[in-house]
């Protein structure tokens, strides 16, 4: 975000307060005291929730005052670039798709699709190669880690293998 206009991401503090309330609600539904320790299982979650709510409000004040939020620098990323929404969504789909595909399609196929999606989101145009690399990587890891004793599920569960 450059100096064009100060962004006011109030939603950040909404999320923090929301998390705090979830914690607070859970904490308050548990006994707050116990026989000998004095504080029971509910005390600490209640405390954490309350602090998060307060921190969320403080964050809102900071945002109101125009606190700058600069993206962190990291390798291969330029924090000053505008967000590439398409690339972000592709990578997000790549990370989320295995929730649906891993169990039924097996690791190698799920890996193939996710690999190609991430590579695409980073601007790779060789879809065929990426699919192939992903499949080989998935197969190799499946055999290696299966031998090491991991439960990676079937190789191709749809075919009953």
């Amino acid at each position: 975000m450059s100096s064009k206009s100060i962004s006011r991401p109030y939603w950040l503090s909404v999320i923090v307060i929301g998390l705090g309330l979830v914690c607070l609600w859970g904490g308050l539904s548990l006994p707050a005291a116990s026989r000998y320790a004095g504080i029971g299982p509910g005390a600490v979650p209640t405390f954490i929730g309350a602090v998060l709510v307060v921190l969320g409000l403080l964050l809102a004040i900071q945002i109101y005052r125009g606190e700058p939020f600069e993206a962190q620098g990291t390798e291969n990323a330029d924090p000053n670039l505008p967000m590439n929404l398409r690339a972000f969504l592709l990578a997000l789909v790549a990370a989320g798709l295995p929730i649906l595909t891993l169990k039924s399609f097996g690791l190698p196929l799920a890996a193939m699709v996710s690999f190609a999606l991430v590579a695409r989101s980073f601007g790779s145009t060789r879809l065929g190669w990426d699919l192939l690399t992903g499949l080989i990587l998935g197969l190799l890891s499946w055999f290696l880690f299966d031998r090491l004793g991991l439960q990676l599920g079937g190789l191709l569960p749809l075919a009953g293998i």
Binding site: A37, G40, L55, D78, A91, A95, K103, V118
Partner: protein, 494 residues
């Protein structure tokens, strides 16, 4: 037997051919991930955790130790040759090391980093050898109130020191603490914040959070702001090390070790702060302070020594008290627990082969790493030519295996996606990541020790400030909390 005899015995274990092979695999893997972006030692060991099912504990820990040390070596290579620190602990190295490489003294920078890492690693391991058994006895003196005070100190320091804003630091910390509460309450057996999801009863796994925040969050962030600008590594040029380089390096190596080791042993210390302190100190002490910013060799030698010593330092509280002080240590603790082992004072007596084999392997690993990183540095630089799209795609696959392979649970994959998005948002809005992990790791311990202390004292809160140890820790914590300006000035100076 005394420490020395145990150590000799340990060498017997570590020098078995298979164990040497594991040390080599670990060292090479560690160097590799140190060079590559996006994966650190904690994440790597987390992804390797599943092998604990099929590998003997001694072999596994020898390999993990190689990864831990190797990452520190490898991180310096990228800092010097392409000015992008592979690890947080190599940030300071990039400042001077890259300048040195630009002015044709890359070889000297690499040499002082590698030899400094070796010297510090060896000295720190030596200290570990003789200090650890003594610290182990502390476990019988340390009471729950002391542990509680120590964790409070860690929380304050990590939230205040990391990142740019105290509020955001504490938000990160408390999110971590909140995640740590999820699951069955240890003291009463009641489920907390699980909201009816059975898979959450055992809590949110550290490895899931680690993989999500670091791997998934990083992939999303880099994808959304991917900079195609290719950084070609600088050529390794110049003489390895002249007599002058050496005479300017050896004192910073020693000072870096002295700073790094104890800081690594303290919770929340990590490797960022000791390297920063070492850098600041070397600039103050240098006879040629004007060199700093233009490639001062002291500015590479000191911080590199400090980060390796810190890596060894984390092993002291981990092995002796079962107290993890960083994310890497917490993952190692998880590995111990996978084997049904509980690090602590009794580990030294019940599993001498494991503990002393591990310590001996640290000496051996250091020698291996020196060889891997000086003559063979060109090999590792080649890794940087892996095209980035495929590199990040590969990281995602390993992240998936690391999560799916352990639990086989879709709930974990959903948690991964949610926390991954959170990791993305935190990067965009500059919330520090480390406090989340520290909160998750030490939060449950803080609560447990607090409630145990109170239960043991039948609810009398004065028990928390009864021992000199707890008073000291709590006082330092208060100081850190109340005087952030001081620390910020330190940062600004660095």
């Amino acid at each position: 037997m005394n420490s020395f005899e145990y150590l000799l015995h340990g060498f017997g274990v570590a020098l078995e051919p298979m164990n040497l092979l594991w040390a080599l695999i670990g060292s090479a893997l560690g160097t590799m991930i140190g060079v590559l972006p996006g994966i650190g030692p904690a994440l790597t060991i987390a992804l390797l955790l599943p092998v604990t099912v099929s590998i003997a504990p001694t072999a596994a820990f020898i390999m993990f130790a190689g990864v831990l040390y190797g990452a520190m070596y490898g991180g310096s290579t990228t800092s010097i040759l392409i000015n992008t620190p592979g690890e947080a602990g190599s940030m300071m190295t990039a400042l001077e090391g890259n300048r040195m490489a630009r002015s044709g003294r890359g070889a000297a920078a690499l040499a002082t980093a590698a030899i400094g890492s070796f010297v510090a690693g060896t000295l720190a391991t030596l200290t570990l050898t003789f200090v650890a058994p003594l610290v182990a006895e502390l476990a019988f003196i340390f009471k729950p109130a002391d542990y509680f005070a120590l964790t409070v100190l860690a929380f304050c320091s990590v939230a205040v020191v990391m990142g740019t804003s105290r509020i955001r630091g504490f938000i990160s910390l408390f999110i971590g603490l909140g995640l740590g509460v999820v699951g069955i309450d240890k003291l009463t057996g009641q489920p907390r914040l699980t909201y009816g999801v059975a898979e959450l009863l055992d809590g949110i796994e550290l490895t899931v959070v680690l993989v999500s925040l670091f791997a998934i969050g990083e992939i999303l962030f880099v994808a959304s702001r991917y900079s195609q600008a290719r950084e070609t590594p600088l050529k390794v040029s110049g003489k390895w090390m002249t007599r002058e380089d050496f005479s300017r390096s050896w004192k910073p190596w020693l000072r870096g070790t002295v700073i790094g080791f104890p800081m690594g042993a303290l919770p929340g210390g990590g490797s960022e702060i000791p390297t920063m302190l070492s850098y600041t100190l070397e600039r103050k002490l240098s006879p040629k302070p004007e060199d700093f910013g233009h490639g001062a060799i002291e500015g590479v030698a000191g911080p590199e020594a400090a980060n390796n010593a810190a890596a060894a330092g984390i092993l002291v509280p981990l092995l002796t008290l079962g107290l993890p002080t960083s994310a890497t240590a917490a993952v190692l603790l998880a590995a111990f627990q996978n084997y049904g082992l509980q690090p602590g004072p009794f580990l030294f007596t019940s599993n001498p082969d494991l503990v002393w084999g591990l310590i001996a392997s640290l000496y051996i690993g250091n020698v291996m790493l020196l060889v891997l990183n000086l003559p063979l540095v060109g090999l590792w630089v080649k890794l940087l030519s892996i095209p980035k799209p495929q590199l990040y795609a590969g990281i995602l696959i390993f992240a998936l295996i690391g999560i799916w392979g352990v639990s086989g649970s879709e709930v974990d994959l959903i948690v991964m996606l949610i926390i991954g998005i959170a990791g993305y948002v935190m990067r965009v809005y500059d919330f520090p990541i480390a406090p989340v992990l520290i909160g998750l790791i030490l939060g449950p311990m803080a609560e447990y020790q607090l409630r145990t202390a109170l239960a043991s004292a039948q609810g009398n809160p004065m028990t928390l400030v009864e021992t000199p140890i707890s008073i000291t820790f709590l006082a330092i914590a208060a100081l850190i909390f109340l005087a952030p300006a001081l620390l910020r000035r330190l940062r600004a100076n660095a």
